[in-house]
C-alpha cells in the first residue's frame, strides 16, 4: 500500500486518469458538471442523501454504491450518502415498497428533518414495476410517503441517478 501511495505522490500528473475502457462523451460530462451550480446555490455544497431500500432487488443499491466509486465520485459535487436519516436532506427510496417495509419507511421519513426531499429511484418505486399488483407490495413509494422526483430505469445507471438529482435541483431553483 505504501508503494501505491508513493506512486501517486510521485506521479507527474495531478489528476489520476480513468482506467482504460471507460467512455463518457463530452456532452454527458458537461451535463453532469452543471449539477454543481444547483448544489452550490441551494445546499451550499452539501447535499446529504439517505438511501432506503424498500424491497428492491438490490440492483438499485449497487448503482447507488457505484456513485461513490472513483469513476463517478459523487462526493466531488458535495453530495454524500449518510448513515442516519437524521443527517439527511434527501431520501433516495428504491423498491416497490414491500408491505413489511412500509412501517420502516414511514419511520425513516418522519426521522428526516424538514425541509426534506424524497426521490423514488427505479421503475419499481414508481408504480411497482414488474412486481405491480403482487399482494405483498404497495405499488410504489408515492402510495406510502410524498415523492418529489422520480428516476426511471431498471435499475437507473449511476449517470441517470446524477441526472435525476440535477433535474430535481433545477426544479427547485426555477
Amino acid at each position: 500500500m505504501i508503494k501505491e501511495i508513493l506512486k501517486n505522490l510521485t506521479r507527474k500528473k495531478n489528476v489520476i486518469p480513468y482506467p482504460e475502457g471507460f467512455g463518457f462523451s463530452s456532452e454527458e460530462a458537461a451535463r453532469i458538471i452543471t449539477l454543481q451550480d444547483g448544489i452550490d446555490g441551494i445546499f451550499k455544497r452539501s447535499l446529504r442523501i439517505r438511501q432506503v431500500d424498500a424491497g428492491s432487488c438490490n440492483a438499485c443499491e449497487w448503482e447507488c454504491t457505484a456513485l461513490t466509486n472513483p469513476v463517478y465520485d459523487i462526493q466531488r459535487f458535495g453530495i454524500d450518502f449518510v448513515a442516519s436519516p437524521r443527517h439527511a436532506d434527501l431520501l433516495l427510496v428504491t423498491g416497490p415498497v414491500s408491505r413489511q417495509m412500509e412501517l420502516a419507511l414511514k419511520k425513516t421519513y418522519i426521522a428526516t428533518p424538514e425541509p426534506r426531499l424524497v426521490v423514488a429511484c427505479g421503475d419499481c418505486s414508481i408504480d411497482g414495476g414488474v412486481y405491480k399488483c403482487s399482494y405483498a407490495v404497495a405499488n410504489g413509494v408515492a402510495n406510502v410517503i410524498p415523492v418529489d422526483c422520480y428516476i426511471s430505469g431498471c435499475p437507473p445507471s449511476p449517470l441517470r441517478i446524477i441526472e435525476g438529482l440535477l433535474a430535481l435541483l433545477k426544479k427547485l431553483t426555477a
Binding site: N58, S98, L103
Partner: protein
C-alpha cells in the same frame, strides 16, 4: 428405513430427475435413508397446492447425491382434512427453514418441527392466511393493516439470552450503509457476539405467487429481478426449467452465450465482493480499486447486452443477442481487468492490517455447513466440494475444464481466496470459450408448454446454487413456480459464523458471505 424407500408407490424418471412417490408415513424415513446412506444434499424442499388436479397438497424434497448427475425428488400427497406431514428437520437440519416456509405459505403443519415460529410473515400479517393456496384471497383491509404494521396479529418471540453481562443490540431493518433491509439482534458479552438472531423477509414481495399470475414467458422478466446481482443466473435457471419442461433443446450458440454471460456475471460479482470486503476491513484503497474494476465490467455488460446487470438477454428457448460478436471488446476489457485484478490481490495479500482482520474471523465449520446445506463460495471455503457446474453439468460446462476450489479453513480469508481462485478460473474459461466457434440460431423453435408437467432448472450463481422448479396446470399455465436462491440456504449459517467474533467484525463476516436479502425473502 430402506423399506420405506422400497415401499414407494411409483417411480417416474424425467431427464435427470427421478420422482419417487411415497406414502405420508414413509416420507420421513425415505428422506433420512437417502440423506444418511447416500450422503445426499437437500437441494430444496417445497409444497404445491395441486387440489385442482387430484385434490391434494404435495410435499416435495429434492436431493442430489454427490458424484452423480441425478436428482431424487421424494414426494408425498396430503389428502383430505389432515393437513400435516412428518417433519424431517430433527434428522436433516437443512430442512428447518423450508418447513417453516411451507407452514407460512400453505398452512401445512410439519409435525415434530422444533421451532414453528413464523419465518416469512411478520407480526401484522393475519393469522391463518396462506397466500400460496390457490383459493386464497386477501381482504384490502388486512393488507393495509399488514403494511401499517401496528396491530400485532401473531407475535414473534425473539430468542433471548439471559445472564449477567449480556447486552442486546438490535440493528435494522434500515441500516447505516447502502444495503438491503434486515433486522439483526445481537446478544453480546462485552464486545463478543454470543448469539445472533436475524429477522429477515422485510423485502418479501410475494414473488412465487406473482410468477403464477404471469405466464411462463413473462416470468423471465420477473426471474431477472429476484436478486439484482444474480439477474442472469436466475433467469438462466428459470428458462432452463421451462425449456426442460417443454422439451425445448437449446442450440449450441445459445448455450455458449449463456455460459459466457454466466461467467462474466461471476467475474464482476467476485471482484466486486473482494473489493467490498475491504470496506469491511477498513482498507479504503482496496475498496476503491475493486470498485473501479467492477465498474469496468459493468460497462462491458452494458455494451454487450444493453443492461449493466445482463437483463433482457435470456428468453425461453435461447438468448436475444449474440455476445460473441463483440469478442475483441470483451478481450480488451478482460486483459485490462486481469492486470488490475492481479495488482489488487497483491495489495490485499501484502496488507498487514487487512490480513489481520480477515484471517481466523467468521469461521464456519465444515460440520455445520454440511448440516445446514450451505452452498456456493461459503460451502467451498468450509471444505465442501460442491459446485453445480461440476455436479450437474449443464450448458457447456461439461466441455470446459475447471475444478471446484475448496479450502478447509472456513474463515473470511478462505472465502476471499475461493473467490479469487474462481475469478482466475472464470477468466480462463471465458478465454477458452472464444477458442471455438458455435453454430445454430440464437433461439430454438417455440413449443407449447405441455399440461401437468414439471421440471427443475438450476445453475451456479456467484453466491451458490440456484434452483427453479416449475409445474404447469391443465391449460399449460404456471401452477407453481418455486425458486430457491443460494442466500436462502446460507443465511442460517451466518449466526454460527459470527459466534465468538466481536461486533465490529460482523460487517466483515456479512460481506464475506455477501448474501442477497431480496433473493432470500422471495
Amino acid at each position: 428405513m430402506e423399506k420405506a424407500f422400497k415401499r414407494s408407490i411409483n417411480i417416474n424418471r424425467y431427464l435427470n430427475e427421478v420422482y419417487i412417490e411415497v406414502q405420508k408415513k414413509d416420507f420421513k424415513d425415505a428422506c433420512i435413508y437417502l440423506y444418511q446412506n447416500g450422503e445426499a444434499i437437500l437441494r430444496t424442499m417445497f409444497a404445491a397446492d395441486e387440489r385442482q388436479i387430484d385434490g391434494t397438497f404435495k410435499i416435495y424434497s429434492v436431493f442430489s447425491v454427490p458424484g452423480k448427475d441425478e436428482f431424487s425428488i421424494i414426494y408425498t400427497s396430503l389428502s383430505g382434512d389432515d393437513l400435516s406431514f412428518p417433519s424431517i428437520t430433527i434428522n436433516i437440519p437443512a430442512a428447518h427453514w423450508y418447513e417453516r416456509e411451507i407452514h407460512d405459505m400453505f398452512g401445512l403443519v410439519p409435525e415434530g418441527h422444533p421451532d414453528l415460529r413464523r419465518l416469512v410473515f411478520h407480526d401484522s400479517f393475519p393469522a391463518g392466511s396462506h397466500p400460496l393456496r390457490k383459493d386464497w384471497s386477501a381482504r384490502e383491509s388486512d393488507l393495509r393493516e399488514w403494511g401499517e404494521g401496528i396491530i400485532v396479529k401473531k407475535p414473534y418471540a425473539f430468542m433471548e439470552v439471559e445472564g449477567e453481562g449480556i447486552t442486546e443490540i438490535p440493528v435494522g431493518p434500515v441500516h447505516a450503509g447502502i444495503i438491503e433491509p434486515g433486522h439483526f439482534r445481537f446478544s453480546s458479552v462485552g464486545e463478543t457476539i454470543f448469539f445472533l438472531e436475524p429477522r429477515l423477509f422485510y423485502t418479501h414481495k410475494g414473488t412465487e405467487k406473482h410468477f403464477e399470475t404471469l405466464g411462463f414467458s413473462e416470468g423471465v422478466r420477473l426471474a431477472e429481478r429476484v436478486s439484482g446481482t444474480s439477474s442472469f443466473s436466475h433467469s438462466a435457471a428459470y428458462c432452463m426449467a421451462v425449456e426442460r419442461m417443454a422439451g425445448i433443446g437449446l442450440t449450441e450458440k445459445a448455450e455458449a452465450v449463456r455460459t459466457l454471460l454466466l461467467e462474466i456475471e461471476r467475474l464482476y460479482n467476485h471482484i466486486g465482493d473482494i473489493g467490498n470486503m475491504c470496506a469491511g476491513s477498513g482498507l479504503a484503497v482496496g475498496y476503491a480499486k475493486g470498485a473501479v474494476i467492477k465498474e469496468q465490467l459493468m460497462q462491458l455488460n452494458e455494451r454487450l447486452t444493453g443492461s449493466r446487470y445482463l437483463r433482457g438477454i435470456n428468453t425461453i428457448g435461447g438468448v436475444n443477442s449474440d455476445a460473441f460478436l463483440k469478442k475483441d471488446h470483451i478481450m480488451t476489457v478482460l486483459d485490462a481487468v486481469t492486470k488490475e485484478y492481479k495488482s489488487l490481490m497483491k495489495l490485499l495479500l501484502g496488507s498487514v492490517s487487512h490480513m489481520d482482520r480477515v484471517e481466523k474471523t467468521g469461521k464456519l465449520s465444515r460440520d455445520i455447513a454440511l448440516k445446514l446445506g450451505v452452498t456456493g463460495v461459503a460451502a467451498r471455503a468450509s471444505g465442501i466440494n460442491d459446485d453445480i457446474r461440476k455436479a450437474h453439468p449443464h450448458l457447456l460446462y461439461d466441455r470446459l475444464y475447471f475444478e471446484p476450489h475448496t479450502t478447509s479453513k472456513g474463515d473470511v480469508f478462505a472465502r476471499m481466496m475461493v473467490r479469487a481462485e474462481e475469478t482466475e478460473c472464470s477468466i480462463s474459461m471465458i478465454e477458452t470459450l472464444f477458442e471455438n466457434s458455435y453454430g445454430g440460431a440464437l433461439t430454438a423453435e417455440k413449443k407449447d408448454i405441455p399440461p401437468l408437467s414439471s421440471a427443475l432448472g438450476y445453475t451456479e450463481t456467484p453466491r451458490g446454487s440456484v434452483f427453479y422448479w416449475v409445474k404447469s396446470d391443465a391449460n399449460g399455465k404456471p401452477l407453481r413456480v418455486k425458486f430457491r436462491s443460494p442466500s436462502y440456504c446460507n443465511w442460517p449459517a451466518v449466526p454460527f459464523a459470527v459466534h465468538g467474533n466481536i461486533v465490529p467484525d460482523f460487517p466483515l463476516c456479512n460481506k464475506s458471505f455477501n448474501l442477497s436479502y431480496s433473493g432470500c425473502d422471495m
